[in-house]
């Protein structure tokens, strides 16, 4: 299934500056696995060391939070969009 994954601004630096990518995936977990294979640097920003999705990163299938669907086992179909939405606080320069 061709699934579009939207990469948010703060994480684009770890994804070759891309704002989205297309993967072939049958589930949301599958799509994220493909994504982090394609862009290895993204992995530690999305997952904890034991492979859990980080709590400040939300993942949506189309407009629905996967926590309220079947989480990473949520089935994807052709044309679906997976969005990664991390928490952002502001625009202050460190």
């Amino acid at each position: 299934m061709a699934v579009k994954v939207i990469i948010p601004t703060p994480l684009r630096v770890y994804a070759g500056k891309r704002d989205s990518t297309e993967v072939q995936a049958g589930s949301v977990g599958d799509a994220l696995a493909q994504l982090t294979t394609q862009f290895a640097d993204l992995k530690k920003h999305l997952f904890t060391e034991d492979g859990q999705l980080r709590s400040f990163v939300n993942v949506y299938l189309n407009d629905e939070d996967i926590r309220y669907l079947a989480k990473d086992k949520t089935v994807t179909k052709d044309g679906d969009t997976v969005s990664i939405v991390p928490s952002i606080a502001g625009g202050r320069m460190g």
Binding site: D19, S55, S83, P86, A89, M93
Partner: protein
């Protein structure tokens, strides 16, 4: 805590206003002729009290539009001072405000815009100790802050007091907005139970914000605030609005109230305000302070050695767009590219690494020393210190 209050004659402090003066009718005429606002709506605005947390980038359009719209009482919480670099986006302030307290400078500007409303400046940092007291007299709290600890504090205080929290946040070209804390709606902790740990969020090299972005997101917050006050339209509660300015696209995601939320769920486990700096890992938003113990050279020492004709290789580890702002004629290898471009460096020569402030270059020196480079120094304080101590013609940014 300093606060200044202007009580206009048209507003009675305790009893709600039931009419508008002739001047007010003229001022708000473009509202009054709209049935969605009308006299009833304008009186709602006049009797409303809104507290703005932060008077910076998001706070600018918020303050300007809410004051212009005739919100009867505006509280402005900010402990910061107007800085020259704020003027690129914080449009409440003028060049002559640099150095003034933001809350007071904003109060002056907004009073000039609308002398018929009450504006209270709170020159204080919002803390777990003062938040409930500050919030209790206001109807709506608007979060225009720029850091995680304050965002969790604003959320929790709003839930404890049962007040709506109009939320907006920005990063570079991207913004988020929603309304938290409505009776049936989610709170910030439903969306993000925990903040990112320090170090996993982008560092200053990837920071920055396009000045118009807070103008757009803050205006959305102002619109949501006014809709809540007018009790009209569809609130963003339960929806997260995402805005990508580069693509110029708005998207909307469903936001659900988490039944297990520790703050607003059925079995609440948080009953009072906590230490939010501890909760967010001390410096929630920024990467942790780098305390790398690497050999350093001061700008003055470097200048003396260069003047003497010593063979020093200057390594600039900033980003290319920063190099264009100003540089010390060094060899540019951004910190992130250092591992794969190490071969460009000659370990037999003495190297001085620098960045803007000395943080990133300390990481570079640490990395290169571990890779076997022995003659390498970090320029203490970076280009900022070079500009202060050696060459003031080098611009600071």
């Amino acid at each position: 805590m300093a606060s200044k209050t202007e009580i206009p004659v048209t507003i009675a402090a305790a009893t709600p206003a039931t009419s508008l003066s002739k001047d007010e009718i003229l001022r708000y005429s473009r509202h009054l002729i709209m049935p969605e606002v009308g006299m009833e709506g304008q009186l709602r605005l006049k009797n409303a009290k809104v507290l703005l947390i932060g008077t910076g980038g998001l706070g600018a359009p918020l303050g300007l539009y809410l004051a212009a719209a005739g919100v009867g009482k505006l509280g402005l919480v900010d402990f910061d001072v107007v800085d020259f670099t704020n003027l690129q986006r914080q449009v409440t302030f003028g060049t002559s405000d640099v150095g003034k307290f933001k809350s007071e400078a904003a109060r002056e500007r907004l009073s000039n815009l609308n002398p018929a409303i009450e504006i209270v400046a709170y020159e204080t940092k919002l803390t777990s100790e003062n938040a409930l007291e500050l919030f209790k007299d206001y109807d709506i709290i608007v979060d225009g802050t720029d850091n995680f600890p304050t965002r969790y504090l604003v959320n929790d205080a709003c839930i404890l007091l049962g007040k709506p929290n109009v939320y907006g946040s920005i990063f570079r070209f991207e913004g988020q907005a929603t309304v938290f804390g409505m009776p049936d709606g989610p709170c910030y902790r439903c969306l993000y139970p925990e903040p990112p740990p320090p170090g996993l969020v982008p560092s200053c090299a990837e920071g920055g914000v396009l000045g118009v972005l807070p103008g757009i997101v803050g205006s959305i917050q102002a619109m949501e605030t006014i809709k809540l006050l007018l009790k009209t339209g569809d609130s963003l509660s339960g929806r997260l609005l995402l805005f990508d300015a580069l693509a110029m696209k708005f998207r909307e995601l469903k936001l659900r109230k988490n039944p297990n939320c520790p703050m607003c769920g059925e079995h609440r486990t948080i009953h009072k305000l906590i230490d939010y700096y501890e909760f967010c890992g001390v410096r929630g938003e920024e990467a942790p302070e780098v305390n790398l113990n690497v050999p350093e050279i001061t700008p003055k020492e470097l200048k003396a050695r260069l003047d003497k004709g010593d063979d020093l290789f200057i390594l600039d580890v900033r980003e290319p767009h920063e190099f264009q702002i100003c540089n010390l004629k060094g060899h540019l290898i951004p910190l992130g590219e250092l591992p794969r471009r190490m071969h460009e460096l000659d370990s037999s020569r003495e190297i001085v690494a620098h960045c803007r402030s000395g943080k990133r270059s300390a990481e570079a020196v640490d990395f290169l020393r571990k890779a076997g480079f022995k003659k390498i120094l970090n320029l203490k304080g970076g280009i900022l210190a070079w500009s202060d101590e050696v060459d003031p013609s080098v611009p600071k940014y």
